[in-house]
């Protein structure tokens, strides 16, 4: 019972939704929602335009994150050094990108296992993440889009990464990473993802509360 009582009094943050409709629905279910602007980069962005866009997004949504999707480690460092007024996330999956994101000290590396045949994360990277305070983002939405066989693989990689995140005390959060409204899930349902990856209930809660709050303090 105490679990459910504290649940209703709890404070939950959704760290990564990627469209307006997802933001609107998530706002009904979470206390705070971070709107993510996805930026696919092959070369340096137009910084003037990007700054303007981020300013507009901050006006509309308050808290904003910039999600870099790139193959080029140098672009991660460039964006980090420009320090736009947004959290900086990096879409994981490429091993060199995973490492560069952690070394550059961005705010979060999202799904380092995405599109891989391994977790894309190991104890060396876990050590760097912990040292540089880079959070690992555990996203639900990739699970929604794939076959049962691929769900097994994703869950294996996520559970393995969680073991390392726990052992090295790496910051982390659980998020829908919803691209649209239909991928949004409630906070308690996102917690169940963490619990099924091996988290204790308080660890899963911290992944939607304490850790997100700590990251938001950087803004």
């Amino acid at each position: 019972m105490s679990e459910e009582l504290s649940f209703s009094r709890d404070y939950f943050i959704e760290m990564d939704v990627r469209s307006d409709e997802a933001y609107q629905l998530a706002s009904e279910w979470f206390d705070e929602v971070v709107f993510t602007k996805k930026l696919v980069l092959e070369s340096s962005p137009d910084w003037g335009a990007l700054r303007e866009e981020l300013k507009a997004l901050r006006g509309a949504y308050g808290k904003v994150a910039l999600l870099l999707v790139t193959k080029k480690p140098s672009l991660i460092r460039e964006v980090k050094n420009r320090s736009p007024k947004a959290l900086i996330y990096v879409q994981g999956g490429d091993m060199r990108v995973n490492r560069a994101a952690l070394e550059a000290g961005v705010d979060a590396l999202i799904s380092p296992w995405l599109g891989r045949k391994d977790p894309g994360f190991d104890h060396i990277l876990a050590g760097i993440a912990a040292k540089n305070g880079v959070a690992v983002g555990f996203s639900l939405s990739p699970l929604l889009r794939v076959s049962p066989y691929e769900r097994v693989q994703l869950l294996l990689f996520m559970a393995k990464t969680w073991q390392l995140v726990r052992k090295y005390d790496v910051p982390r959060f659980i998020t829908s990473s919803a691209e649209g409204r239909w991928e949004v899930r409630g906070p308690r349902d996102l917690m169940s993802l963490g619990i099924n990856l091996g988290m204790e209930i308080p660890e899963a809660r911290a992944s939607l509360n304490f850790h997100p709050r700590s990251l938001l303090l950087r803004l």
Binding site: M1, E4, F7, S8, L25, W29, L140, L143, L144, P148, R151, W182, V184, R185, G186, R188, D189, L190, S192, L193, I195, N196
Partner: protein, 120 residues
Amino acid sequence: MKEKPKYLPPTLRDKYRYIAFQVIGERAFTGEEIKRAIWEASLSTLGFLGSAKAKPWFIKFDEKSQTGIVRVDREHVEELRFALALVTQVNGSRAIFRTLGVSGTIKRLKGKFLAQYGWR
């Protein structure tokens, strides 16, 4: 002569939890559709062996508010919640399951999580 088995002694009775949920869909769903969706979610997530252990059981669905109650073995609440979180469609139409709360009795569940949807 009895045509049905008697109730089990208390020590052998299963310990259940009741989960209140809301369905957000691109259209309204019937109780039958929701019941089936819960079964499919359980079978694909937990298999028939895991489902036999979790014992998910559709209790009721209010079509007006699109909210309902499902029962589950108390050791497997989080597994069923996860199974429901991974539902993306019900009978071909897009849908989201959102759990509202969990309780050991239907009465408390209704009072705490479903009264606001018109349940009594």
